[in-house]
Amino acid sequence: MAERAPLWAVFVLPAVLVVVAVAVAGLDAVLAAGARTGRIGSLRAAAVHAVRPGREVLRHLVQQPRRTRASDLPLARIGAALLPVAAVLAAVVLPLGFRSVSDLPEGIVWFNAMEALAWAAVWLAGWGPNSALSLIGGYRFLAQGLAYELPHMLAITTAALGAESLRVGEVVDAQAGLWFAVWMPAAFGIYLLSAMAMAFWGPFDQPVGVDVAGGAAAELSGVDRVLFLGGRWLLLVVAAAFSVPLFLGGGHGPLLPGWAWTVLKTAAVLAVLVWARRRVPTLRMERYVELAWVVLTPLAVVQALFVAVVVLNR
């Protein structure tokens, strides 16, 4: 069982998440800049590109905020601010090594509930500015949510089933021998897909897609924009990091201490996601939803059934 972290961890957690998110955004920016020629180029050029997300943040912070006509500014504000808050709240149950800020007895359900707050957040941010394109972005995230949530819930339930507990600490403990990713590969794969989908990032970036000029984020400016797009990166980091205690054995591993393994595995998952993003175009939900419901959901049910049978005969 995970130990309780000291109180100061509450304040450190958001800072750590922001640092990791900035690092991932920097890596993504380097890869995006290298995409033109197919090469990353010199180290120096890479460094210039890596700090670009940081520069963007500063630029938006000093920028004069825009307003659209007949907008519902409070709602858009709430939406933009809710996203990073949801990400940090979800991260409360994330163990670093074997310690999390609060190892709630229903940690997995908690994570799921907090991640669902993003539904409301994105829709609000899309609705608030009273602009057709951003509202389309908001709608798209709800469609996306309906598509990814069903197999996603079944996948995380499968991990809880394997550990016979909803407590994240116990899920980690149950993987001291064999990682869940090894004997629940379908659930792990589905989880990785939904990790990108819940952060509406990479192949699932339709809600903020290029074709709707930024979608839900199109009309946000200034602090709101930083909060919204920053919250999206935080959500990605948290979603990717949560796959480590769920499927990749958490802090378990030879030689290194627990926290180092958690960091390594999280970095690996994030690297895979950032790489995968460059390989595929954006998935449109009217196509993906059929795949999710007709293929992924039954697959997840079969996986859960298999795990249930194994657990019963253990």
Binding site: A32, T37, N130, V210, D211, T282, R284, R287
Partner: protein, 289 residues
């Protein structure tokens, strides 16, 4: 229908699903990222479904010619520039050859290849594949800068390979904006869209194939045969005839009908009409007449 804060309220109309939902009139263009510049589509949206689409300000020349109100400052600026300086960039070698100027086959292939790479860059960006879009655009810039056939082939072949092999891309663009050859011919479409005889994915494949073929021949120095009918990146180029892009614009409304917003963007990108062509021809006509 009332006005609130200077904005019209939505009214209702029949829709695809028989719900008679509110509809919203949204003008798209003329300036939008990864959008054929100058094109204005008047969309009637219900949710994100295009219920009706009208190509309104077709090119700058025509818009001014029929006395349209041009709201866009940039458009006005362009419209006031003399027509001679605004010959459609992508058709240039073919138009010159038609006028009797000696143009090498290599130069024509280079421009054609670059034009398709330009269209592909827009197409990949709209389907959300930023990586491939960046590569296609890099190859386009190199092609226009006058790189050799070997280098250009090395640049475009990974793009072609990845786009052709991507099953995700096929799954996502298959069945989007199906334009049968018959329908295309009826509207006077002559270019890749006619050859493709199918959906957005088929049109992309035609572009890719043309890019691969063109990249290999950019160094050929023999003169372009002026007697032969010139076929530019958008289709047949004949002096005084309807430009190829006009056909593409004519098929747009019926392809967009009932499409979702994302699909509508893909359809526009996969046809990629060149508004300069239309402006040029209209200008030429008013000039002669």
């Amino acid at each position: 229908m009332g006005l609130v804060d200077g904005l019209p309220m939505a009214d209702r109309a029949d829709d695809r699903d028989g719900l008679r939902l509110d509809r919203l009139h949204v003008p798209l263009g003329p300036v939008l990222t990864d959008w054929p510049s100058g094109l204005v589509l008047r969309l009637t949206l219900q949710g994100d479904i295009v219920q009706e689409a009208a190509v309104e300000a077709v090119g700058i020349g025509e818009a001014v010619g029929i006395g349209e109100v041009v709201e866009n400052v940039e458009a006005v600026d362009q419209a006031t520039t003399p027509p001679a300086s605004r010959s459609p960039f992508w058709d240039e070698p073919f138009l010159l050859a038609a006028k009797g100027v000696r143009v090498s086959q290599g130069d024509a292939a280079r421009r054609l290849c670059a034009a398709h790479l330009d269209s592909l860059g827009r197409f990949f960006a709209v389907v959300g594949w930023g990586d491939l879009a960046a590569r296609a655009r890099f190859a386009r810039d190199r092609a226009l800068a006058g790189t050799s056939a070997a280098e250009l082939t090395a640049l475009v072949s990974p793009v072609i390979r990845r786009a052709e092999r991507s099953r995700t891309l096929r799954g996502l663009t298959a069945g989007v904006g199906v334009l049968s050859g018959e329908h295309a011919r009826h509207h006077g479409v002559t270019g890749p869209a006619l050859v493709a005889d199918g959906d957005a994915h088929a049109r992309m494949l035609v572009w890719l194939e043309a890019v691969g073929r063109g990249a290999a021949t950019v160094d050929v120095s023999e003169a372009l045969d002026a007697t032969e009918e010139a076929v530019g990146p958008r289709g047949r180029i004949a002096d005084g005839a309807t430009p190829a892009s006009q056909g593409l614009l004519d098929v747009l409304p019926c392809l967009l009908d009932g499409a979702e917003f994302a699909c509508a963007r893909i359809i526009v990108a996969s046809l990629d009409p060149d508004l300069d062509e239309i402006g040029h021809v209209t200008m030429a006509r008013t000039h002669h007449g």
